[in-house]
């Protein structure tokens, strides 16, 4: 006997005035629990670039989408169909940016197999996967690297750009711009964690023109040199994170020798190298 699967498509509405939605998720209730397939979600991993690539506004609110990913995961733990329906009703009624559209039904025939197969099929048919640029792919890998190092959870890691104004010996004021930083350790953790700040900047190698790369490298050299000159960073605490170093990049990156440690975020050993910088005694 064929069984029916009720499903709901969730759309991301970028502009409430235009009210044009992009399908981003498929939700269903079956067998005493919720089920989902959502853009960028791969088990417990969220590939942020998929949502970021929808629009500039989506890029800014990717941290909220991460919270939605948690919400989708929790939906799988909803046991009562009434609770599931209530959650969907709120999604439909509240203009939260993610909106549940009308309900659809598919028959779980032998062709679809089980619920999981049906959801995979629906997701493939209804949700168009965005094209991921090399820059976004790099950002995904960067996020994964920081996650693996676990410094994200330390409380003294800033995953947003900071500007630090420092004064050098010659009394000249210098602004040091860091994209990520690990600053000043809490007192109780001093014995385990370094209290010397670490400054991270990034360089996207793939998809950039040679001219743009030259400019970015020159900028990073200036920033890290000033950071050391003012005493804000030590040379071994200046880290440039870049993506997939190819042979053609080596000469260009050699300019950073002695100025910053260049790390490839796609290299599997990079998270442990960062961990060693943060927790040298562990």
């Amino acid at each position: 006997m064929a069984l029916s699967l009720r499903f709901h498509v969730v759309q991301y509405v970028d502009d409430p005035v235009l009210a044009e939605g992009r399908n981003v998720a498929v939700l269903a209730y079956y067998g005493g629990r919720g089920h989902y397939r959502a853009l960028g979600m791969d088990g417990y991993r969220l590939i942020s670039s998929h949502f970021k690539s929808l629009s500039p506004k989506a890029r800014d609110s990717v941290w909220v989408y991460r919270e939605w990913a948690e919400w989708f995961r929790s939906l799988a733990n909803v046991r009562e169909v009434e609770q599931f329906d209530k959650a969907i009703a709120r999604l439909a009624a509240h203009n939260s940016g993610l909106v549940a559209t009308s309900e659809g039904v598919v028959e779980l025939t032998e062709g679809y197999g089980d619920v999981s197969g049906a959801l995979d099929y629906l997701f493939k048919r209804l949700v168009r996967l965005p094209k991921i640029t090399p820059a976004l792919e790099f950002e995904d890998q960067l996020e994964a690297t920081f996650n693996q190092t676990e410094i994200l959870y330390g409380g003294n890691f800033l995953d947003e750009p900071v500007e630090v104004e420092m004064v050098a010996e010659n009394d000249r004021k210098t602004v040091i711009t860091l994209e990520f930083s690990h600053l000043f350790t809490a007192e109780f953790a001093r014995q385990f964690v370094t209290d010397v700040p670490i400054g991270f900047n990034t360089l996207v190698l793939q998809g950039s023109t040679a001219k743009s790369l030259d400019r970015q490298i020159a900028r990073n050299i200036t920033i890290f040199k000033n950071a050391v000159l003012t005493g804000f960073l030590q040379p071994d605490r200046c880290v440039l994170l870049c993506g997939r170093i190819e042979e053609k990049h080596r000469e260009m990156l050699a300019q950073l020798s002695g100025i910053a440690t260049v790390m490839d975020v796609f290299d599997q050993s990079t998270p442990s190298k960062i961990r060693k910088l943060v927790w040298p005694h562990s």
Partner: protein
């Protein structure tokens, strides 16, 4: 825990001053009185004033005027484009342990104002460590909205009934923290509660007398709050 509210637009118009202020608009949800919730605007406004006085984590809002009269604008949290989801029931336990202090505060506050409809009306972050957010919203079923008749609501609040039979954090909050928030509320000066409830003018259909009576009921309720919560300890506190 200071929260970030959503900016809809930043205008070109700037004002003089060393801080270079500019004009902007924030996103908000407008709430009106309706047949189903005839005292929504007043209840929302007074719940906010009480919460801000007691430092309870609820979303901010302001009184505003629309074509149909005064309305309550609940300011929206989050970033442009996407709002945080409302809490799901499987997230209640995580929220109560992640935000233990805030959850306890919200439980005691909801009992104090008789808000029996907390349900999923909470926004919280769980995977954004640098931006902790925990805020309750929607208080139209508290205060004058406990019952459909405002006089009955006032009577019920003054009668020391628990009112809140179900709450997302019942069974998940630390008794020590609950006791702390009970003490804070019960020690609040009567004058502060009156200032929160009495607006010195009618608001829509809520008369000055109704406002005064509500204040009196809450002043009585806070005195008996400790007893009221102790009587329901089995239902409220978490069990190891």
């Amino acid at each position: 825990m200071p929260a970030n509210y959503k900016i809809r637009s930043i205008r070109k118009k700037s004002f003089p001053g060393v801080t270079a202020p500019v004009s902007c608009s924030l996103d908000a949800i407008l709430k009106f009185d309706s047949a189903e919730s005839p005292f929504c605007v007043y209840s929302e406004l007074v719940a906010l004033r009480l919460a801000q006085t007691l430092h309870i984590p609820v979303a901010s809002g302001v009184l505003t005027v629309t074509g149909s009269g005064e309305a309550y604008a609940s300011l929206e949290l989050g970033a442009p484009g996407l709002r945080l989801p409302d809490l799901l029931s499987p997230q209640y336990v995580t929220a109560a342990s992640h935000y233990a202090e805030e959850a306890a505060a919200l439980v005691v506050f909801d009992i104090f104002i008789g808000n029996w409809d907390r349900g999923s009306n909470i926004k919280a972050t769980f995977v954004t460590p640098h931006l902790p957010i925990f805020q309750g919203f929607d208080h139209e079923h508290g205060l004058l909205g406990v019952e459909s008749d405002p006089m009955k609501s006032i009577e019920k609040l003054g009668r020391q009934e628990l009112i809140v039979q179900h709450h997302p954090f019942y069974g998940h909050v630390s008794w020590k923290l609950v006791a702390k928030w009970v003490e804070r509320i019960s020690k609040t000066d009567d004058a502060m509660i009156r200032e929160c409830c009495e607006l010195k003018r009618p608001l829509r259909t809520v008369t000055i007398d109704m406002q005064r009576n509500l204040a009196e009921a809450l002043c009585k309720r806070k005195l008996h709050l400790s007893q009221l919560i102790s009587n329901n300890m089995m239902k409220i506190k978490s069990w190891p």
